[in-house]
Symmetry: D2
Subunit: 271 residues, 4 copies
């Protein structure tokens, strides 16, 4: 619906509703479109801002490799462009990584931070998974089978077989399209050296951390580490979900995000 | 702040704010006063209604034994008194039990149901704990030591030692007061035959079920049972909390309650 | 060390020590050699029998596709060949699947059953993972990156980086060798229609079920299902291990296996 | 069956079988008799040694308060009396605490250490529970209801109602007997200042740590702390058990104890 210029690249974003700004940062395979089901509830009491990162959705493609840090700069540029001083920032997976980079680099711009399925680092194990994705990128079926079972839980697969079958039909041409796959490879590589472990203590905003019990890509140990290191953090677990919590548990996803973002009070004095 | 007559007994309640009605049902030792820290956030966008059950707080005392079912009647009478057709109903512990009875008996009156630290039944084990409380009721220190470690997690004890020490000073005279202890015994006994296990399938409202990992009184297995049996239920776990989640994790308690109550959408069509 | 003929195919096995027979069934990528570190403790008080399934290690290769059921026939033939009436049967992963088939088909031949990292079925999700493996089989690096991160936990990766690097060097030529990869594809496909869910109730032997908390391939839900359905089953969880429990937690693996196999008593009358 | 003199007090112990010495240390309410069901399996391949601590079973009663440290001295005296240089030491609950004290004070006497339902410290929370027990000690029913639900899981209560009813009949006269209750109070108080947290790093023996998911008295967090701090420790969880793991899961209890004690190998070189 709108775009702005970032270092000569066009950045696509969408805005809905009015109220406390709520900025939502995509997972790696996502785009603004992925939030269609959430636009109504998320904009009911908030000014919702969706953003396609560089190499995502309708934002510009990059020409070569880059570091994920640039996506945090994009995020900052968007808030500046919109004249927003402070926003509640929600990130899932790759978007959670950018949210962490942004909250560390610009603490005064983050009112509250909501992290779903997020890790503080790309360790050797996650690095190998990224390499597996990239090696499978030449074949749409291989790419589907290498990425999708990692993202959805076995129970979701079992209970949503029709949806999964349709999703496979939808994704096959996408995964065979170099215009999608080449950016995916660059996005994957951009997180390769990601590690903010030692800077988590700098985060000042009240922070919600959400783990999912069947999350294979960013397992619960990763969020436990976030919770130990982020000073004012609050930690919950969704027992019945894989990595894609927004698809597997949309009602809990929305309730947690909106509840944490909009509750007027962040300090309680037990009496 | 207000009261109404229920079968010749005065029932005390409090009202704050405007918006979608949010009725909050107390745990066994609680009263309207226990929610002081939550009145502001809970009434920010909602019409908040607090209620003292029979034998609680400023509501009338009972003369002899009774069944917990009467508290669901009190709940119904309050909504009728206030002319509220449908409310979001939040219950914790004993209040969650009454909320379940109410949602089963009057499904059309419950818009959404939020259950914190709740069980579907008083089994033989929980029955023995109730008996232990009652046997300790003649001595304020024994009552404190029999009830309180069951309610708070070891970690909370360790991290809030000053608060716990003050709480003990506050509670000692209360636990020595027959005007508190005799009602507590009756309230405890009123739940003795409680078992709604076989009727959970009748609940129609979207339901949030919250477990706490260090909850000894109503352990996670109980909420897993609720989740299996309540059709449209959503289940989350707070890893760092004992039974009194509202005291141990007030920010998460508020975020979950308000997020689930106020999110405009309860049906998501994953796409 | 020895072999026998099964339907015209040579089946390789190894035997060590004396005592109650303990038959160990390999995971899909394993062979008798994989147990080198366990031969000494496992044969200290037991007659240890290791077995290469068809298409594994030094047993014969197959010519085309087959069903995993044949591996249970191989297992039976081996016990017959050795004149062993009843054995304790331990299986891990693919070997656990064969152990379940065998225990269902020949309950009188199983004294105790020990299942590590085992599922009762190849559901749609696990099927997709198998397909991903097969699609990656043309490239040694792709095969490594698609299979190995699924098998080892992130923590093991992090703590055993040198070992993992050496392992990659060792596995690269293996994964590039059609004599390994073609059998692997057939083994993978042989489990495609595996589902013993409805027959678990027939198992008579005392059964040990071991889950690992970071097991992605056969997550804990699968073993919980086994435990619910296998009558005389006992369930433990190793919190710090991925799918390859024998590599990640060898001391616990050995203690659980030998303790359960050799404890003289399987019925306790609490008094 | 036998006794020896410790500082003028008679210490009762029992011995069975031959082999590697396995010393078993009682929980607070237990005595040698409690192990009746385990004597056969535990002495099948081991020299089993059972011990009644001071103020337990058939050992001498104390005259006044004392520190739990004396029980570690009793343990040392017993090994000396029997001429045993090194033993595998198993402790449950109070016995686990003494086992930790002993392993810290006399590392060269412990070959392997097995800790069931054990904590490293009596924190303020556990202290309050001990006080609750002591305050209830004047009344057999109150003592039963204050101690027993804390020890057994809700599921065990539900599934073993007959056994629990019989147990209550058995325990009522015991809990009304000052010869049992006065020692129980002293034993409880003896652990009041127990805290070996800072010395756990000194333990040298391979150590097995067993948590039970419904253990309220010594919850899983306590064993996670033990596992973090004890260098050569191995950690497993029994999902279906309360504090009294030997009663709730005797087969797993025996398998874990004997497997860990008797496995010939404690160092594995993954290859």
């Amino acid at each position: 619906m709108a775009s702005f210029d970032f270092q000569g690249k066009s950045i696509y974003y969408e805005e809905y509703g009015q109220g406390k700004p709520l900025l939502v940062l995509n997972g790696i395979m996502m785009s603004c479109k992925s939030w269609a089901e959430f636009v109504e509830p998320f904009s009911q009491s908030n000014r919702l801002i969706l953003l396609d990162f560089l190499d995502q959705g309708r934002s510009a493609r990059m020409d070569g490799p880059y570091d994920q840090a640039i996506q945090a700069e994009v995020t900052l540029a968007l808030l500046d462009h919109l004249g927003i001083d402070r926003a509640c920032v929600l990130g899932i997976s790759y978007g959670g990584e950018v949210a962490l980079r942004f909250a560390i680099g610009h603490p005064q711009r983050v009112e509250r931070l909501m992290l779903f399925n997020t890790t503080a680092r790309t360790g050797p194990w996650l690095g190998d998974i990224g390499d597996a994705w990239n090696l499978a990128s030449g074949d749409a079926d291989a790419y589907y089978l290498t990425t999708i079972p990692v993202i959805y839980s076995p129970a979701f697969y079992r209970e949503q077989q029709d949806w999964m079958a349709k999703r496979r039909e939808t994704l096959r041409p996408v995964f065979g399209d170099p215009n999608f796959i080449q950016p995916m490879i660059r996005l994957t590589n951009s997180a390769r050296s990601y590690d903010v472990t030692d800077r988590l203590g700098e985060i000042q905003a009240p922070t919600l951390i959400v783990s999912c019990q069947q999350d294979y890509l960013t397992p619960m140990e990763e969020q436990q580490l976030l919770h130990q290191r982020i000073p004012n953090s609050h930690y919950v677990v969704i027992p019945g979900s894989g990595h894609a919590s927004m698809y597997e548990q949309p009602m809990l996803f929305a309730a947690l995000a909106l509840g944490f973002c909009n509750t007027s009070k962040a300090e309680y004095h037990i009496t």
